[in-house]
Amino acid sequence: MTNKEKQITIKKAFLNALKGFISILPMMVATIGLVGLFQTYVTSSMLSNLFGYSDGLDILIGTFTGAISSGNGAISFIVAQGLQDQGVSLYALSAFILAWVTLSFVHIFAEASVLGTKFTVYRNIMTFITTMIISFLTVITLKLFI
């Protein structure tokens, strides 16, 4: 391949990447807009009222609340710390922080429109179950060491 051909290929590769990015811009702007609404309306005091029934239920609620929350992963730790101070169990907190970064109901429409509905449904169901299992296993394993 000559240098000129190579340059054209690089240019084409860049334009294709840019085109792909622009095509998903409406979806991304919509998702960011939804994240803004969620961060405003879903507060940590609202969340803490939901926990404290049983370990199993705490894991389920932790996973669910983590999944409906949204934002940077660092925020999840800060919210979790606040919840921990309010006596929320480690089962719930593990599920909450894990669901925050792996599941996001806010992103579901975006994921489905780009990666397909079937893929999105399977992945989210699997991730929901996996998150609960990991939360349970993490706390159990931790108890073995401490």
Binding site: T9, I10, A13, F14, N16, A17, L18, G20, F21, S23, I24, P26, M27, M28, V29, A30, T31, I32, G33, L34, V35, G36, L37, Q39, T40, Y41, G73, F77, A80, Q81, Q84, L90, L93, S94, I97, L98, V101, T102, H107, F109, A110, E111, S113, V114, L115, K118, F119, Y122, R123, M126, T127, T130, I133, I134, L137, T138, T141, L142, F145, I146
Partner: protein
């Protein structure tokens, strides 16, 4: 040549309607939400730039045939390792990566590897010190090991589920 098409227009319209409703009925929270979104959008510009460059590099360096070879149906364990490493090293929100994943998927990237990549993203290297500070070092190590193990398991299950369906 593939026709250019915007994705998520209906979704965007729905969110705009939602914002209009919030602006009418709850003006204070409308301003807060709008400001959060603008700030978030602005903070993502460097990540978006990085992803566009990375996608261009993948397009240029890996031809569809190579993607099929490294990440396609017949790719081996190495591809799972790449997906885990890619997930751990990737930054920014998940939706920022959808475009690149969709592009690679159209060239043969396995669904199972996408699932592994997405779940491995739960290991957040820059946030590990904060995680240790909040939950302790033992908790941090244990949960991250489980995340990696289950990202592999999820990938295997996804491939099995989809191959079972396509063979039916």
């Amino acid at each position: 040549m593939k026709k250019f098409e915007f994705k998520g227009m209906k979704f965007l319209l729905a969110v705009i309607v939602l914002y209009i409703l919030v602006a009418i009925f709850d003006a204070t929270n409308y301003t807060t939400s709008f400001n959060i979104s603008i700030k978030l959008l602005w903070s993502l510009v460097p990540i978006f730039t990085f992803i566009i460059i990375l996608t261009a590099a993948i397009n240029y360096l890996l031809k569809p045939k190579q993607i099929m070879k490294h990440f396609g149906k017949d790719s081996g364990k190495k591809s799972t390792l790449y997906a885990i490493l890619g997930g751990i090293l990737s930054h920014g929100p998940m939706y920022a990566w959808y475009g690149m994943l969709s592009d690679m998927k159209s060239h043969g990237l396995r669904d199972g590897l996408i699932v592994t990549f997405i779940y491995a993203r739960a290991v957040k290297l820059p946030l590990l010190p904060l995680m240790i500070g909040v939950f302790g070092i033992a908790f941090t190590i244990i949960i991250n090991i489980y995340i990696i193990i289950f990202s592999i398991i999820q990938g295997i299950i996804m491939d099995k589920l989809l191959s079972k369906e396509s063979s039916q």
